[in-house]
Symmetry: C2
Subunit: 409 residues, 2 copies
């Protein structure tokens, strides 16, 4: 038997043992959606999460939502009403961000492979481009000149440090992201000389960390780096995007980030910052932390079978919607995401079962020998932490099964 | 510097050093498609591959195409005209298979999570269902009775052996696929008693093996298992689907399967088979081996940059189209797929570079410190073995970059 990750707080069952999402029964939601598999996102939990962040962080720090975590339009519109800015990573995301109601001036566009037409779209829209290289800077300046628009340009910095314990390191050593720190002052000087509207720095050292002390240390390094760069440039950045880093507990033994501790440390870091940054604004850019816990993936059991003594629950979902949960996206060792039988939520574990998807590949495993209440054909399986990097971070067309349904409740 | 996998045979450049695909210049194909990234599939290579298989294998053995490898409609229609049957893994694939021109009677439908509506669709269409469990069998029989149609039913067998050296083991021990061998005779008796049209066995022990001897040994075990089951049942299976297994060379040091050796061994196995199988037909079910080499993924360099001494070529493609090539799908250790600069094909390597995609994630690496000819913005990168498990086996919606274009030439 293998453990599964912790069920996020805030989920409960009604008196029938049916999982409630946004106060509504999982089976009713599936009926309302028309079919499983289905992603349900809880708008109230999203709002509460943003409020939790604001309560923990210094009031002056802005919150940006990195929409790559979940671009589902109703969710994005909800988030746009809660946060101070959106971070996009493609022309497609920029289009969706503009449609969400967020002001173009509060949208920033990062990504190492921006094409000319994407740079043009961003400049014309009035978004801030987080420049990833000197070459991209020249292309953006040329496009701005051609359009007769002063481009809003920030510089993404490849920091010399990384975020310790992060699931995804974005800084430290040779990276395709951003401009090596030592080359940044000259590049900013070039932008200013060329008449661009220099917006500041984007410094992203890593993501999916759970250790508040490591996040705090990285934020302190980030502020120090921004100060050093500002001193070298001789001008303060209007905005320092401190990146993200705050992760969520996916696996057995994982515990939630101590957000108040991160906030307290950040307050101390900002209070003690170099005077060169006195008038700079600061922002954090979060994706997963904001939306993962508010999402549940519901899939129905199609078959229950035994092979050589092992019981399998075969579902109508799978890795085509939950690639990361299947252990096939950015992880080396497969471990179980938080998982439950939605219609026996909180019930006593019966025996270990393996929950697999409907795809004809051994990679398609959603729960490996996990202890769950007895379940059979027609029952609903719930996978948690499904609000981030689910539907769009999975191969939805694989084996012709089609995309999942999504709903915001 | 790290090596890359072997460029498949049959690719060459014109006098300008431009890669030719189906005799046509890669740059012209990209222009014709309208943009990169682009998958190009060479119809002539697909035909030649089928001919290679037929020349190697005993004439009596049928060839099925497992369309999960590549369901692109023009390619599927081309394959339908070349092979003896199609194997599908969902209702969506069945629909595409029927649209390809393949006769319903030559289509078989496997997959552990078939929903009732998919069983009904398959039975009504006249396809053969490869049953994955006793429960699925009962559902299929009930649906056949309700529809007043005699269902065409085969039994997928979970063999007691696996395919040695295969990248993907589908047999041996507890598996979600098929019915454990010892339970098969009773299930087949049940099907026959219930009046179903029993079509035989589907026995799939693994895929992506390169060792002809291992494949041959597995095929011999498969034929022996089919004979044992037929003896126990007291009736010969009309068809024994021997599964696939033949892989392609992705990585440095990989060599192509010796198809004539597989064919010679299979001929010997069939010549010596138990008389109970004298009147049975045999089929192999191949996906990757048939289509991978005929596909090339073309992506354009958007930026060339240096970070801490490492050179990066940033492309407009990425893991959203080439998840497996990025090392994030079913592999533990990332190694380089075959890769080249399409417009300097065969040119002298200049220096090691890392080829990355346009996604804002460190997972998005298509070539890690590979030696390639000098390349710059606007040049085309070609990834090979892109005909299988590319476009549909990747998270196309990730980060809003959108799907790749595809064309058959």
């Amino acid at each position: 038997m293998k453990p599964h990750g912790p069920i996020p707080p805030g989920y409960a069952a009604d008196r029938d043992g049916m999982l409630l999402i946004g106060g509504r029964r999982a089976d009713v939601l599936a009926d309302e959606a028309g079919d499983t598999p289905l992603f349900v996102y809880d708008a109230g939990m999203l709002s509460a999460r943003v409020a939790e962040w604001r309560a923990a962080m210094p009031a002056a720090v802005q919150l940006h939502y990195a929409m790559k975590a979940n671009p589902y339009a109703p969710l994005l519109a909800h988030m746009a009403g809660l946060v101070d800015g959106l971070d996009v990573a493609s022309g497609g995301e920029l289009k969706a961000a503009l449609a969400s109601g967020m002001a173009a001036g509060e949208i920033s566009f990062a990504g190492p492979g921006k094409r000319d037409r994407e740079l043009e779209y961003g400049i014309a829209a009035g978004a801030t481009l987080n420049l990833e290289s000197a070459g991209e800077a020249e292309r953006a300046l040329a496009i701005g000149a051609r359009l007769g628009i002063v481009p809003r340009l920030a510089v993404r910095v490849n920091p010399t440090f990384d975020l310790k314990g992060s699931g995804m390191k974005m800084g430290g050593g040779a990276k395709p992201f951003g401009v090596d720190a030592e080359a940044v002052p000259a590049l900013v000087a070039r932008l200013i000389d060329a008449g661009a509207d220099w917006r500041g720095f984007h410094i992203f050292a890593g993501s999916q960390a759970l250790d508040a002390a490591a996040i705090a240390e990285t934020q302190a390094q980030t502020v120090a780096l921004a100060a050093d760069l500002a001193t070298a440039i001789g001008r303060a950045p209007p905005l320092v995007n401190l990146g993200g880093g705050m992760g969520v507990p996916y696996f057995p033994g994982d515990t939630a980030v101590d957000a108040p501790a991160v906030g307290a440390a950040l307050a101390a870091t900002l209070a003690a910052r170099d005077p060169v940054l006195a008038n700079s604004r600061f922002a954090m850019e979060l994706g997963r932390w904001l939306v993962a816990e508010a999402g549940v993936y519901l899939t129905r059991i199609v078959d229950r079978k035994t092979s050589h003594g092992e019981t399998f629950l075969v579902t109508d979902g799978g890795l085509h919607h939950q690639l990361a949960a299947s252990g096939n996206f950015g992880t080396v060792i497969r471990r179980n995401y938080p998982i439950a039988i939605a219609n026996r939520f909180g019930g006593e574990p019966y025996a270990p079962v393996s929950v697999v998807g409907c795809l004809c590949t051994p990679l398609d495993r959603l729960g490996d020998q996990v202890a769950l209440p007895r379940a059979d054909v027609g029952d609903l399986v719930a996978l948690f932490q499904a609000g981030a990097y689910g539907a769009t971070a999975s191969p939805a067309a694989f084996l012709g099964q089609g995309p999942a349904r999504e709903m915001l409740v």
